[in-house]
Amino acid sequence: MNMLTRPDPALANIARNAGGARVDLVLVADMVERGAKVLDVGCGDGELLRLLGETRAVDGRGIELSREGVNDSVAKGLAVIQGDADTDLADYPDDAFDYVILSQTLQATRHPRVVLEHMLRIGRHAIVSFPNFGHWTVRLQLLFAGHMPQTDMLPYSWYNTPNIHHCTIKDFVQLCSEIGVKMEKAVALNAWGTPLRLNAPWWFWNLFGEQAVFLLSRKG
């Protein structure tokens, strides 16, 4: 687990100064170079793309499954199309983007591994953020209450959740290792949206990180 890099102090400052925007979105945005070409997969109502446009001057595109999200985004002037991460990424040519972002969507895909591989084929970098299913509140609910965990980040009941492939930080790191992905940066946020302290060991992250953000790139 040495490959899990430590949180970047600059990112921590950004997160504390996030102001109105969601902390995880600010963290993602800060991993993107200015003026880059970005594809946001599962872009929702376009909030991250808007933030990236304003703070990073990116050439941003989005894919979103929900019709409402797409129409809201387009009405904001964003270049967003209706589509499905599981089926439509295959249509994109290699190296079409500098960054392909999957923000809080990984756990809702049918084939997370395939999606991740496509992301790193289409983009030079991939940025993935997801809720950590290894968080202590999740573990305790299953262990002591004996029911499927529900948290602020995972508010659904087991029968109506769109999240079909939960993973822990440890699981995700394992997947990255299996498909030969280089981790450039990683940040875990606790339940208050604060980045975990820099020198924390990986098991600490997996237990106390409520969500994680990874910047990845192809190896070699």
């Binding site: 595109r61 019709r67 387009v74 009405a75 002037g77 967003v80 209706q82 589509g83 249509d91 040519p93």
Partner: protein, 396 residues
């Protein structure tokens, strides 16, 4: 009976072709022929058009609106024949999504049509008589070439936007493919990169209805003083069904009777939907030329953007600087969403900047002409974003 109803249509065929009312006309002489895909040149020819709003000092706020098969240049003002409002007044006007307080809108009548641009009902200068079927078969690309010549004539180098639905959307795609550097944004709505076999089939039924009318006279009705109004009305009735949807027809008409309680056990228009369709047929004949209907449906049938680019639509948009906004409607079965997705797929493969939205409506293909708030919000938002990106100033 159908015959009794449809004969109420105007006796004399439409003649707006040579000198259209309430329109500007650009004439192109022998020095500026229109080179047609059919391999011949059309010369001289003219393009009738309307403009709205004010062109800014930089000449950068021009929006070209392309009309559909049954449309014309009267996009945002009263129609000289029907007296009705413009066909896209919900979209184009002061404060509308295509805002006439910001944009200078140009709407030309397409080549081959019958409202003042050269078409089969225009006078053939070689004979002094109407062209009829001697008029060359034209394509969507020919229409767009003529529009580009109109823009040259008006001194407009680049368009802030090109927008249109259905056949108008085909022109939008052709514009972006043929003149990418002249098109900053493109809005192809409810259209496709090629006409499907089913759509060609529907058009063929319409054409056969016109040609089966004894008054069509092999296309020489203008010379012989007849008018194939029944054929054209039936063509329109058939086509009109394809512009709606089962759900919309059910919602509007159901099985309701027209002005009666019980069936008459005859072939009168017992049902409201029959009466409605007959009305659509009759009112269309008032303002449209039968031969133009043949030519324009043919142009749509021939449209296949990929065919001009080694079979790949993506090649048509390679390195395109244009920002696209593709829009489809859930109940449109003439140009279903899958066709718009194919456009989006090609644009993505070409690396073009594209937005795509599907709008939920039961109004079918005609939804693009109707009151669809979501459509307006998307077009407005898309154009606002593009305007900021271009740093576009207002007209004054």
């Amino acid at each position: 009976m159908v015959e009794a109803d449809l004969t109420t249509a105007r006796e004399a065929p439409l003649r707006e072709a040579d000198s259209p009312r309430d329109s500007a006309v650009a004439c192109f002489g022998a020095d500026k022929p229109l080179k047609l895909d059919a391999g011949v040149e059309l010369s001289p020819f003219q393009v009738a058009y309307k403009t709205y709003g004010t062109l800014n000092a930089e000449r950068s706020n021009a929006v070209l609106v392309c009309h559909a098969l049954s449309g014309d240049q009267h996009v945002a003002s009263e129609h000289p024949i029907t007296g009705k409002g413009g066909w896209w007044e919900t979209m184009v006007g002061p404060g509308r999504p295509i805002d006439l307080e910001r944009y200078f809108v140009i709407c030309p009548n397409v080549i081959g049509a019958c409202m003042g641009s050269t078409g089969p009902s225009s006078t053939n200068p070689a004979t002094g008589k109407p062209w009829g079927l001697d008029f060359p078969v034209i394509t969507i690309r020919d229409m767009v070439r003529a529009q580009a010549m109109l823009l040259d004539h008006l001194g407009i180098e680049s368009l802030f936007a090109v927008a249109g639905g259905s056949m108008g959307g085909m022109q939008v795609l052709q514009w972006a493919a043929s003149y990418p550097e002249r098109v900053f944004t493109a809005l192809p709505i409810g259209c496709a990169t090629r006409h499907s076999a089913q759509n060609i089939a529907f058009h063929e039924v319409g054409r056969q209805a016109i040609m089966a009318d004894p008054e069509w006279r092999g296309g020489r009705y203008l010379l012989e003083g007849t008018n194939p109004r029944r054929g054209l009305a039936v063509a329109r009735m058939g086509a009109h069904i394809t512009y709606l949807s089962d759900a919309a027809l059910h919602r509007k008409f159901g099985r309701k009777f027209q002005d009666r309680e019980n069936p008459t056990f005859s072939f009168d228009a017992d049902f409201e939907v029959e009466s409605y369709l007959r009305h659509q047929g009759i009112s269309f004949v008032e303002r449209f030329d039968a031969n133009s209907y043949l030519y324009l449906t043919r142009a749509m049938d021939y449209f296949d953007l990929a065919a001009d680019y080694d079979g790949l639509v993506a090649n048509a948009f390679k390195n395109s600087p244009t920002r696209f906004c593709v829009i489809s409607f859930t109940s449109d079965w003439l140009f279903p969403t899958v066709e718009s997705r194919a456009i989006v797929h090609a644009l993505n493969a070409a690396g073009a900047r594209v937005s795509f939205a599907e709008i939920v409506t039961d109004k079918g293909h005609d939804a693009f002409l109707l009151d669809e708030p979501e459509l307006f919000a998307i077009v407005r938002g898309f154009l606002d974003g593009a305007r900021k990106a271009r740093g576009l100033s207002g007209p004054r």
